[in-house]
């Protein structure tokens, strides 16, 4: 952005005013991205309805009646029908959002914190530390993600906690690699050398010079990872590794309704629609975030 543009944007302020901060201009760019806003709104609706589940769900998600087994979509009182034990599908989808979002998002948050920190440390360290961290990372890359997630949670056993642990283990190396390569690039810049010349401590350089600059590639990667994580977490639940049965979760609902596929085919694909909608929205949001954060590239 040139000075003339700046001044015309805020004519009443003197030329000495600072240019809008990085995060603010990223926010402004995001507000102009229609696809990004639309997907953020859909996600917001899903998250809010999951949080407000006790208020808005029409029925108890875990109690059903044999009298109303597998009623079709549009049944009075059961807008999206009922499952094989007569439980209301709409209520289960709303409640299911809690566990599905929790098990999709938490591992990415944990992996971003752990992998991001280790990646920055590896990127700023000498050859020895860097070599050790990165070679261990390479080993985890030798496992296809789903295989590793299934194997770890298969051995650990059922339960939300175990799903979160296995997915975090799968994602830490991926975030780590992104953080490391971004850090190595930044650490070579002149301003980091300048900071070193002022005898600033390594920790200070890390937090004041490197961190703000590697944050955006890490965040862009993390949002795209949420889409993957949601799909894999629901997949683990789909094959019966994950939350214990009566609890509503999209992946395990998909599995339960699969048995009724010949009786009520439309019902059996519904939970998947929720997984797809959430995952597509996170992917689109990640794309928007990517182009909003890449200010230098798009300003050309």
């Amino acid at each position: 952005m040139t000075m003339t543009q700046l001044q015309s944007a805020s004519p009443s302020v003197s030329a000495a005013t600072k240019a809008p901060g990085y995060w603010r201009s990223v926010g402004q760019r995001l507000m102009r991205d229609r696809v990004g806003i639309a997907s953020a709104l859909v996600l917001l609706a899903i998250v809010v309805s999951a949080l407000a589940a006790p208020l808005i769900a029409p029925h108890d998600p875990n109690s059903g009646s044999v009298m109303t087994r597998l009623s079709p979509i549009g049944t009075p009182g059961h807008l999206l029908g009922t499952d094989a034990t007569g439980r209301d599908i709409l209520s289960r989808l709303i409640w299911g959002g809690r566990l599905s979002l929790l098990s999709g998002i938490t591992p990415v948050v944990l992996a971003t914190l752990i992998g991001g920190t280790l990646g920055i440390i590896a990127g700023m360290s000498g050859r020895l530390v860097n070599g050790i961290i990165m070679r261990i990372t390479d080993i985890f890359f030798a496992f296809p993600s789903i295989l590793l997630a299934v194997a770890i949670s298969g051995v650990l056993g059922n339960g939300l906690g175990n799903t979160l642990v296995s997915l975090t283990v799968v994602f830490v190396p991926q975030v780590l690699r992104v953080a490391e390569s971004a850090t190595v690039q930044i650490a070579r810049q002149d301003y980091v050398d300048a900071a070193r010349a002022t005898t600033a401590s390594r920790l200070l350089i890390m937090t004041s010079q490197v961190l703000p600059n590697v944050l955006s590639p890490i965040l862009i990667f993390a949002t795209s990872l949420i889409a993957v994580s949601l799909v894999v977490a629901a997949g683990l639940n789909f094959i019966g590794l994950g939350v214990a049965p009566p609890a509503a979760e999209w992946g395990s609902m998909l599995n339960e309704l699969r048995d009724a596929i010949y009786i009520n085919p439309t019902l059996s694909i519904l939970p998947g629609v929720m997984i797809v909608a959430t995952s597509v929205c996170f992917n689109l949001l990640s794309d928007s975030l990517g182009s909003a954060m890449n200010i230098r590239e798009t300003d050309k």
Partner: protein, 314 residues
Amino acid sequence: MIRYALIRILSAIPILLGVSVVSFGLLFLQPGNPVEALLPLEASPQIAEMMKQQLGFDQPVWRQYLAWLQRTVQGDLGVSLYDGLPVAGQLGGALFNTMVLAVPAAVLAFVLGGALGLIAGYHRNTWIDRSASALAIVGVSLPQYWVAIVLVVLFSVTVNWLPASGMASPDGIPRSFSDLANMVMPVLALMLVPMGVVARVVRASVQDILSQAFIAGLQAKGLARGRILRHVIRNAMSSALSVMGLQFGFLIGGSILIEVVFNWPGSGQLLNLAIFRRDIPVLQGTVVVVAGLFVLTNLAIDLAQAAIDPRMRR
């Protein structure tokens, strides 16, 4: 080239060792000690002690690992705790069945994804590009297991054209149209994600190549569009190959969800059964072999890339 190949092959060895350590370590993640998991609850402590000695669990961990590694390298993956059969034999058959689906899925994904990416890259920022890219992003976001269920609803439940599950011929090799019919939906479901990924990579790579000076040079020389296209494809091939190598590994490692939906007796199904039977040798064997194959596939792709493109040999 030979020097590069040698270095690349040697560098795979520590990775393979690391893979074996992680696969072996899985045993220690399970709650309780491994012997308890094998024995019925009412077994006496003496029997537990005997079992422990017999299976080598009284040895220090590193010795257990070395013994396991030695057997594994020799192709002995132990016996299943569930039916007492050798793991290697079961796994071999199951892996073959997985390949029967993964190979056609990979080929289709590579060809269709490549074509999609090429078309999108050539028509940059037109509606063709945008719809091809939209298709690719949806392909990447879709859970394969859900696509599989939708396919079953469409083609088995609604119109009854294709069988909903199972593998028709006992040895996996399709011999008739009805055997092939069993493969159609699993292959389609497996193909979608790698196709989307390949399309996205090829699109980016084609756009990059088209903006380079040598293309303008070829155009200035008066070369026909078709001849230029050949240059573009050759240059885009290498990045497409490298993602496809990764994706092929994901197809084999991620086949578990598709194999569960279609009840296909492959390595994923075997892993699934091993988990629910708490059959650790089968689980360990499947994990170490599939991950090992993944490493070797990537090695092969790297070497193939270096053979095609000398710039990669650094």
